[in-house]
Symmetry: C2
Subunit: 496 residues, 2 copies
Amino acid sequence: MSAKLGAVGSPFKLIIVLLIFGCCHTFALKPHILGRHRLTSLTAQRPITYKTCYFEQQIDHFGFLENGTFKQRYLVNDLHWHKEGAPILFYTGNEGDIAWFCNNTGFMWDTAEELGAMLVFAEHRYYGESLPFGQESYSDAKYLNYLTSEQALADFAVLIQALKRTVPGARGSPVIAIGGSYGGMLAAWLRMKYPSAVIGALASSAPIWQFTGMVPCGDFYKIVTKDFANSGPNCSKNIKRSWTAINNLSSSEAGLEWLSKEFSLCSPLKKPEDVFGLKSWLQETWANLAMVDYPYEANFLQPLPRWPIEVVCKHLYFDKDVSDYQLLRGISDAAKVYYNYTGNTQCLNISQTATGNLGMMGWFYQACTEMVMPLCTDGIEDMFEPQPWDFQAFSDECYSMFGVRPREDWVETVYGGKNISSHSNIIFSNGDLDPWTSGGVTANLSHSLVAIKISNGAHHLDLRYNNEYDPASVITARQEEVKYFKQWIKQATSSR
Amino acid sequence: MSAKLGAVGSPFKLIIVLLIFGCCHTFALKPHILGRHRLTSLTAQRPITYKTCYFEQQIDHFGFLENGTFKQRYLVNDLHWHKEGAPILFYTGNEGDIAWFCNNTGFMWDTAEELGAMLVFAEHRYYGESLPFGQESYSDAKYLNYLTSEQALADFAVLIQALKRTVPGARGSPVIAIGGSYGGMLAAWLRMKYPSAVIGALASSAPIWQFTGMVPCGDFYKIVTKDFANSGPNCSKNIKRSWTAINNLSSSEAGLEWLSKEFSLCSPLKKPEDVFGLKSWLQETWANLAMVDYPYEANFLQPLPRWPIEVVCKHLYFDKDVSDYQLLRGISDAAKVYYNYTGNTQCLNISQTATGNLGMMGWFYQACTEMVMPLCTDGIEDMFEPQPWDFQAFSDECYSMFGVRPREDWVETVYGGKNISSHSNIIFSNGDLDPWTSGGVTANLSHSLVAIKISNGAHHLDLRYNNEYDPASVITARQEEVKYFKQWIKQATSSR
């Protein structure tokens, strides 16, 4: 499937897909490294232990002909749980291995004791071990048919109902949904669609409005650009110039050879068209850096220094009179901050984010069906080459990949779009460095649909472990979040 | 399919299915007669006209492999609509031809002018003309797979979104969902699941709690019994005695012959087992009478006199010393009030409610998948032979009919069961004569989830046209309902 992706139509379309996917997905790649890294963080001295459990789920909640079931994985820690109606924090798993999200959501581990809460991390169907048709799950469009957010939400609601019925002491336990990124969207939607299952939701960095007609498609890359512009002199300007420089060099064989060598590419560029791949890979790299611009050394998408964009920008200080070669050497050094902070990387692979793993294919499929999140650039208000959003081209590409076409308007109908104020008890938290804030809820919609802004915060910083370098904003955000949790729990307990 | 039904397992199981179905379904049988009758009612002088429209709907809203569409029928009247943001009353069609519901929901026609409202009546998929696979829709389990309440709600939400986008002046129009019986459940659920589509809902006689574990399964028939007990001396007692009398007579050929003749059966009873069919038909008849015990001549399930149960009970006044023959002659005369009020019926057909029409088969399928509504009798607190609820037997029967098994707990998970207080703007109206009140919401759940009780009210009396014989309770109920509508419209308009 991913090989097919590389072969699809114009490179322009390819970039669109990769961006959507790459920015919201590659999280699932390196759980092991991340797990090890976590040990060096402030709170990681506390051992993280959990039970791995499996729950028999219907493959199709919305039809009765397919009556098969599959085993949904979920992880449980009840070390601090006070039982007898004490709360459950329920992570609504997103597009990847749930163990990785479990390790990456330190906020829940940091908060469990204070709330006397049980922690549950539920895996999203079609990811990790929760494969409805086992190894066949991705082999055919007919097996992929049950990979939707609605089915995933139903899994969560059914699992919660089952936990309440079967775990001694849990019958009256209020459940709070927590998630980040797509998982944050699911947390918010779970509260909207199944308010009997969860008393409230923390939707961190959840771009629930990054859909057709809700926000301008260019905002995402404007934020990326702003992050670079604010992290060093001339930084975004030089990235903006770099595209022309790449185009200039790519017109000759010598130029392609120079680029391949300079960027230490594993597979050298052979034809002028190959340069589209290089450019889309760089664009994705800058976007990913904006997402993980954390104030401390971390290893989310890659092992990175603290404030990685500042480090990147140290290689991109040139003023106007720089040559194409000088500029692109800087770009190459900047990219290597992202890809080779450890110094162990032998060569850079520009198809890196498109190599196959179940998670990637799953998110592609979701983007090609419901999760149509238009992104675009104009080259004026952002540092990228202009690239309009082209739904039809996107749809055609999806059709050629999966035999399905995206339904552009469905998410707005099913999840209410901008008209969600009748719901209650949802916290939308967003960091101002995070490009996904473009599609997030950043102002209160009612007294119980609240927005928390985290200045100097990247992608769901609030869900990460406490860290000595945390900005004050995220410390306050987490306190507020816990305050709301306690309020909801009190409401739920008193109304029993 | 319906022939198969008659052949299924024990007659006990058959009764269970027929009851559920019969009581909530046979509404769809005689639109023509009803339409004619309406002309004699007080308000029917006003001509009812509507446009018949069709909307292209996805066959599967929750999966992308089946990308086919079908034409959903909906009826529109905008005679009184004030346009430019004036309200839309949207009937959430239930298990039958929408033209019939349109003719049967006089309340909307009576209210349109006062509210300056557009009226829309949307047909439920798989009923009337809205057949996803045309005449094949019921021919195979694979075609029936998209007959669920979730798909129907999605149809309504998508249609509303489309109307707002395409009808000039409707963009800002607040939409109120209105429905009765299963349509009332859909109205409530539409507000719960798609609050961005409708600002509120009137769920009339909607037994949203008639599901496993929510209410006692015996309450339905207790209400039926109470209606008969209150409508004439010894009335329910004699019905209760009748089952033994029927059993006594059915043991001999002569007895069967007598019964067949006395009840003017089109197909004489041949074997002692045939008597199960007679008894289940009578049980259903009494239940139907309880549903349509209206204070004026009407023609809902059958043409009937005003307060039909009182008329029925005039044939059942006997005290204890009555013979089996006398008693059953009374029962027969009573049944003929229901089946032959016009005097034109030649013979009575005890498989009447099981003969095939699309609507019947559709509701069977829905009862066999999601809409598992347990009913039972104990012969002590009701006037029927004891018949416990047997889920397994029901499930087995469904499997043999459709190749699907019902999911007993799903409705509670998906629609919240008793835990729905976080929703808003829903009116639940119920009449105390209506047996479906057993599964209805009869007490306020919050300031905006309100219950309206209609004393001396049968099945969704409030949705019918104004009538000179209306009890004060239903006049007040309708006034309250309109008051809430205005309040919701004001809220919606002021928050724009």
